[in-house]
């Protein structure tokens, strides 16, 4: 009970400060919107490739860009905890009776909320550009869930890294180094069947791939739910793993002050 209310307070605090800097949400959306508009136009005819198995590239691309945005927002979340450490906010919380779990859980909760907001904005944009989803509301809910299951574990890892290295440069470096490869080693932009075999093999171990393929399957209608559930379960396992790492990083931070 205490953990939950405290998490909501911490999340509320994060979200409030984001709403007060709307340019931040705008900023995190510039890149995906560019992908959606440019790739959507540039690769329009890529669906004609034999084996691509999609009728409209924008319909194919939109869920990919939604998941990619979740991935990037998660990757950058560690930046916030560094400025809180430097400002002394984290230490102020740690000398108070606030739930320790809520300090991380609250951040992840705010991450999930931001992912939902960003996803709706991108879905609306995709819809305007002509994306249509036979899977309807259920499909969209699966897309939201699978995006959250990417953004929150990645955010947990980003927070863990931030707590361990305590330098903004390192979080920037690691994010740049990992996020784009994770995107391109997945079917965000390109159908699995037309990928080179080595990328196809690498993608099998990539949470971004699990998330995008689950979302697309649910959005397409006539869904193979076994296929979707398997991928969502893998994402949950990934989340548990990430939460474990974040908890350990948090403990070692506490031991180091």
């Amino acid at each position: 009970m205490k953990v939950l209310t405290h998490s909501i307070w911490i999340a509320g605090r994060q979200i409030r400060s984001l709403i007060r800097q709307p340019f931040y949400i705008a900023f995190t959306l510039v890149q995906p919107i560019v992908w959606l508009l440019l790739y959507g136009q540039l690769f329009k005819r890529v669906v004609e490739l034999p084996g691509f198995n999609a009728s409209s590239y924008i319909t194919f691309l939109t869920p990919g860009v939604v998941v990619m945005t979740a991935l990037f927002s998660g990757g950058w979340q560690g930046m916030g905890i560094i400025s809180e450490m430097e400002r002394g906010v984290l230490d102020r919380f740690l000398v108070s009776p606030v739930s320790r779990v809520a300090l991380i859980a609250g951040r992840l909760l705010s991450m999930a909320t931001i992912t939902v907001i960003q996803s709706f904005i991108l879905l609306t944009l995709g819809y305007i550009m002509g994306a249509r989803f036979a899977g309807g509301l259920v499909g969209i809910l699966v897309l939201l869930l699978s995006s959250i299951l990417v953004s929150t574990p990645i955010a947990a890892l980003s927070n863990a890294l931030a707590l361990a290295v305590r330098k903004e440069e390192s979080v920037i470096g690691a994010s740049n180094f990992l996020l784009l490869p994770l995107t391109f080693l997945s079917p965000v932009f390109m159908a699995r069947n037309v990928m080179p075999p080595w990328i196809r093999s690498a993608a099998r171990f990539n949470p971004v791939n699990w998330s995008v393929t689950a979302a697309r399957a649910a959005l397409a209608g006539h869904t193979d739910w076994g296929f979707v559930l398997l991928r969502l379960s893998l994402l949950v396992l990934f989340g548990v793993f990430a939460a474990g790492i974040a908890t350990r990083a948090f403990r070692s931070y506490q031991n180091s002050v």
Partner: protein, 337 residues
């Protein structure tokens, strides 16, 4: 499981030892007690171990060995209860820049279990008291340094703690804001709060605290009221600066032979000594130095200060200790050790 010990002491620290992973021994058997309702100052240069002590007492950090009780609760076993009993104002602000003063106070209050109209009232009260009422709904990023520090103290007081930790509360403030802060701290103590103040300003400890412990290299070297500490020193402090370094021991030798002069110490070109009566001792000291060929640049005679107490118990002057600890100083500030 919890056991609150009823003692006249709000804080009791015994044999605290703390070594950081980088092998820096921050505390080396530090012991002191603070009576309920007084302002107690830990005085020492940066890196002496004051902040580490505060972090162990406020449950942020853990000692490798030794015990500590705050408000009767053991800081290790009863950390949860200690947290409700204490208020903290750290060196770093800890307020949320993207929230207003009122929002910062409100969240802080909620964490301590205050809610509803009681919370609203308490927040309003503190804003009023710290002259922040006009700025209450402005974002903290628009506050001046002095206003942010006041908000910090208000946040530390929201739940009416028994013990308040003030870790270098006036560092980085301009003289005007510092004077205002001193008045505020004095007022807190008059209301019955126990305050543990750390400072590297001698003047601050002298002025605010009813008891002072001088900390050096992770230990308390001496403790008492400022008057007691100064009273233990006999006579006036005489400082003579030479035009050249007094390296060959000549100065010490000639001054040591003089009547009524004691505790001669020499650091580079400056000589410090105690004299029963400074005004009468100076001429004979100057004559002695002159006759052994040492040229004098300046002479000062002071009534004893805490700086002299510090010198006496640690064997080095305060400013010298500051610069010696200066190497670790960058990480001290940055890492908030």
């Amino acid at each position: 499981m919890s056991s609150q010990l009823h003692t006249p002491y709000a804080i009791e620290a015994r044999d605290l030892v703390k070594t950081y992973p980088n092998k820096v021994r921050a505390l080396d058997g530090l012991t002191f007690s603070v009576q309920t309702g007084v302002i107690f100052a830990l005085l020492g240069p940066n890196g002496a171990g004051k902040s580490t002590t505060v972090k162990i007492l406020n449950t942020l950090s853990r000692a490798d060995s030794g015990t500590a009780r705050v408000s009767g609760f053991d800081v290790k076993r009863d950390a949860g209860r200690v947290r409700f009993a204490i208020g903290c104002v750290a060196q770093k602000p800890g307020s949320d820049l993207a929230a207003s003063g009122r929002e910062n106070l409100t969240l802080q209050g909620k964490i301590y279990g205050i809610a509803g109209s009681a919370l609203k009232q308490r927040v309003g009260e503190l804003l009023e008291r710290f002259n922040l009422a006009d700025a209450a709904d402005r974002m903290v990023r628009t506050y001046s340094g002095g206003m942010q520090r006041k908000l910090d103290i208000a946040m530390g007081l929201i739940h009416r703690p028994h013990v308040l930790f003030l870790d270098e509360p006036t560092t980085g403030l301009d003289p005007e804001a510092r004077a205002e802060m001193w008045d505020e701290v004095a007022r807190l103590a008059s209301e019955g709060l126990t305050v543990l103040l750390t400072t590297h300003y001698l003047e601050e400890a002298d002025r605010l605290a009813s008891r002072v412990a001088i900390v050096d290299r992770g230990k308390v070297v001496v403790e008492g009221t400022p008057e007691q500490l100064k009273g233990e020193l006999f006579g006036d402090a005489v400082q003579i600066d030479l035009l050249e370094l007094a390296t060959d021991g000549r100065a010490g030798e000639v001054l040591g032979r003089l009547e009524g002069i004691s505790e001669v110490s020499i650091q580079g070109p400056s000589i410090r000594a105690r004299a029963q009566l400074g005004a009468t001792a100076v001429p004979s000291m100057l004559a002695a130095l002159e006759s052994s060929g040492l040229r004098v640049a300046s002479v000062r005679v002071n009534r004893p200060s805490l700086d002299d107490v510090y010198l006496r118990y640690t064997g080095r002057s305060f400013s010298q200790a500051e610069s010696q600890n200066g190497n670790g100083n960058g990480s001290h500030r940055g890492g908030g050790r």
